[in-house]
Amino acid sequence: MSQISRRSLLKTGVAAGVLSATGLPLRAQAKRGGRLRMGLNGANTSDSWDARTHSDAFMINCCHGCVFDCLTEVGPDGQLRGELAESWEASPDAKVWTFKLRQGVTFHNGKAFGADDVLESLAMHTAEGAKSAAQPIVSAISEMKKINEHEVELTLEAGNADFPFLLSDYHIVMFPAGQVDEAIAKGIGTGLYEAVSFDPGVRFVGKRVASHYKDGSAGWFDEIEYIAINDTSARMNALMTGQVDAVNRIDFKTEPLMRANPRITIFEVTGNQHYTLPMLSNVAPFDNLDVRLALKHAVDRQELVDKILQGHGAVANDHPIGPANQYYAADLPQIEYDPDKVKFHLDKSGIGELNVDLHIANAAFNGAIDAGQLYQSSAKKLGININVVQEPDDGYWSNVWLKKPWCASYYSGRATEDWMFATAYEAGVPWNESNWDDPRFQELLYAGRKELDSDKRRVIYHEMQEILSTRGSTVIPMYANYVDAASSALAHGENIGNNFQMDGSRMAERWWFA
């Protein structure tokens, strides 16, 4: 599967349908049966089947790859493959995309899936005033056309070679046309499991549908039960005492105990999730490149990985592209803690003594305040005074982030380079947390977006990562791993997805009882 380049899949996704139908070689041993019980955090009483509002682990696991399906899917190996779309084709400028839809698919209420469902489901995000988290992704669609029952044509305002990738987003699931309200109320999708009961913030129970287009390649459990366990200790206990078969986000403090338990397997992947310390690049003193470089070299990244992530992560290089991305530039020189460089850049900056405030709260990421203090102490040795201002968690995202000249934030990362850059580094976008506006960077961003040639894109994205690393305005000290745990009785395919926690949040689909 890995021999097939992403490009060939992207341009014509013909192979995708075939691949997902045959499945991975290891799947030969997979067998049906059993009830998967998962303990998940991130559940709220405000949860619903409205995928536009989903943002946390519980609903992401319940919705996409479980009760609902998307048009495309990022496989466990990181390759894009078709889900409800069987194949797709782009015009040479990557502006017009034609999707062939899978035939013979029905929703849980018996309605047949077709082109109308796609158009109406996408319209839920593109409609004027729609409060969808996926709006920036689909806002580029300028026209949606039904060619026939099983074919749709989507026209973009500007070419985007990654468009099929964007449609794998967990917000953009397919609802039955004309019955969207009912589907949101009851959870009616085309997924492997149909909703049996759903108590927001408490529990979800699903039952395997009798027949499904993924039969033989996914969906091995007869029943699934997701239990909302927001409290970390309670979640770990539930797995330790065998009341659930898998939990997400394990507690690093009790991790050694879990490792010692032969009935539990911990699975860990380094994906694109990263923690950032954005500096507003147009506010003094951060408008001074040498100040930024001095600060970039004044933090001991390995120490942060060891102490804040307890080793469950990797040092990052001040750009947001991670190992799970296709064009990750692993060969860029790593920015290190370097007293000489700090001194050099401080002298060159000409501002004399450097005193800066770092506004931080644990709302940004677990241990953010500790991270700030570690940064403070490593910088102090080099004559930089970082004043760590502890902000309250409440209102952090509205009062501190994007407002204070230097603060902390996090990203779960994005499946594609363009998507990540467009989220937080494109000039003028709302989440541009460092007010990053670099002409060359912007030029490359637009060039990469409509470039269909893989080699050329690699060069473009390499340079963009280099720009952010060498002169960007965001300190990105570390990638945080996804660390989850499951009962040893469970088995999975060759790879574990690293785009989200819990095997791409598709455990119910991909795992089975050995």
């Binding site: 303990g39 709220n44 009483t45 405000s46 619903s48 409205d50 536009r52 509002t53 943002s55 409060k131 988290a133 969207v180 309200d181 009912e182 949101i184 109320a185 009961s197 108590d199 913030g201 408490v202 529990r203 239990i227 909302a228 366990i229 927001n230 409290d231 200790s233 309670a234 206990n237 539930a238 330790m240 005492t241 065998g242 009341q243 659930v244 309250p392 409440d394 209102g395 995202w397 509205s398 982030w401 934030s409 709302p430 989440w431």
Partner: protein, 336 residues
């Protein structure tokens, strides 16, 4: 006999009125306290996406931009009509799907009632264990006062009450779920499950609560009985040659009932209102968890309704305690 009953009814009515007044005062305090929480629903629901425009749009829609005074009175008038409103989370959800849904709107009451039932079930199980246990232990420790048994009981119940509840909960999990898997550590109860299964899953939180409330009731029982043991009529009973057990149960206990009832009622109120930590640790889907979740997302209608329910439970149980102690005490029943 006629006059005392009428007097009793008057006292009850008086107390009920006072209770209502208290509830009104509490509602003001709740409203002020809840509104003093930093951040609001719009900000918490939007998280990282909380741009000024988005926050404002949601505030506008939920009426959060109106003055606190007008919000208080519209809330109060709703509550008086039994309408606790719609949870903000649901209101938002409705606006996503448009008003065309025709589907049922989930109100605060819809959200709270099943949770309250679960909490009452837990409180009921805990009370069924702890009250008989505490009273029996109280009588026994009074009977065998200052013996090794008395001291052992006092030390163990006092250490239980002195430990924080989550600590007791983890100790119980360690001994009864991890080392000896007797009860499940996860209380995921849901509608339609067998009573025995439900009881089994409720056991650990119920035991935790039992440990938390037994000491006070037991020590009050013991103290009240011992207090009476010096009175002349007990002396008389003893001189008649009654057994110590009989002296305590039939002669001392009835007169000690008033303080015991008061402390039992207070602890019952605690079983309903103080379960937050226990419910979180055992993932018990009761009103305490709902309360915590709602505070987290600043869902003010739900938080206010929960607070009001907690306050009402406290006031009602105190009222019951007062009335019961009046009934149990002839001197209070016949005021001069």
């Amino acid at each position: 006999m006629h006059k005392p009953v009428a007097g009793l009814i008057r006292i009850i009515l008086q107390r009920l009125l006072l209770g209502l007044l208290t509830l009104f005062a509490v509602s003001i305090i709740i409203f002020i306290a809840v509104n003093a929480l930093p951040g609001d629903f719009a900000e918490s629901i939007l998280g990282q996406g909380a741009t000024a425009e988005a926050v404002n749009a949601i505030r506008e829609q939920l009426g959060l931009n109106e003055s606190p005074l007008s919000r208080y009175f519209s809330w109060l008038s709703g509550v008086l009509r039994g309408d606790f409103g719609i949870p903000m989370s649901q209101a938002l959800f409705q606006s996503f799907t448009g008003a065309s849904t025709g589907g049922e709107v989930v109100t605060v009451v819809d959200q709270i009632v099943p949770r309250l039932k679960n909490t009452l079930f837990l409180a009921g199980v805990s009370a069924a264990i702890s009250v008989p246990l505490a009273v029996t232990l109280g009588i026994l420790t009074a009977l065998y006062r200052n013996t090794a048994f008395d001291k052992a009981m006092n030390v163990s119940t006092l250490s239980a009450i002195s430990s924080p509840e989550f600590f007791l909960a983890y100790i119980l999990i360690l001994f009864l779920a991890v080392l000896n898997p007797v009860f499940p550590s996860l209380s995921n109860i849901f509608p339609g499950m067998e009573f025995s299964d439900r009881l089994n899953k409720t056991m650990l939180p119920a035991l935790t609560l039992t440990l938390a409330v037994t000491a006070q009731m037991m020590r009050m029982t013991r103290a009240a009985i011992i207090n009476l043991l010096a009175s002349p009529y007990i002396e008389m009973a003893r001189l008649k040659g009654l057994s110590p057990m009989r002296v305590i149960v039939t002669h001392a206990l009835p007169n000690a009932l008033a303080p015991i009832i008061t402390v039992v009622a207070l602890n019952l109120a605690y079983l309903v209102t103080g379960v937050v930590v226990v419910e979180v640790v055992f993932v018990y889907p009761g009103i305490g968890q709902l309360f915590v979740d709602s505070v987290k997302i600043r869902d003010i209608p739900v938080v206010q309704a929960c607070c009001l329910i907690f306050a009402a439970v406290y006031i009602l149980l105190n009222l019951t305690a007062d009335i019961l102690s009046i009934i149990s005490n002839p001197r209070l029943r016949h005021p001069k």
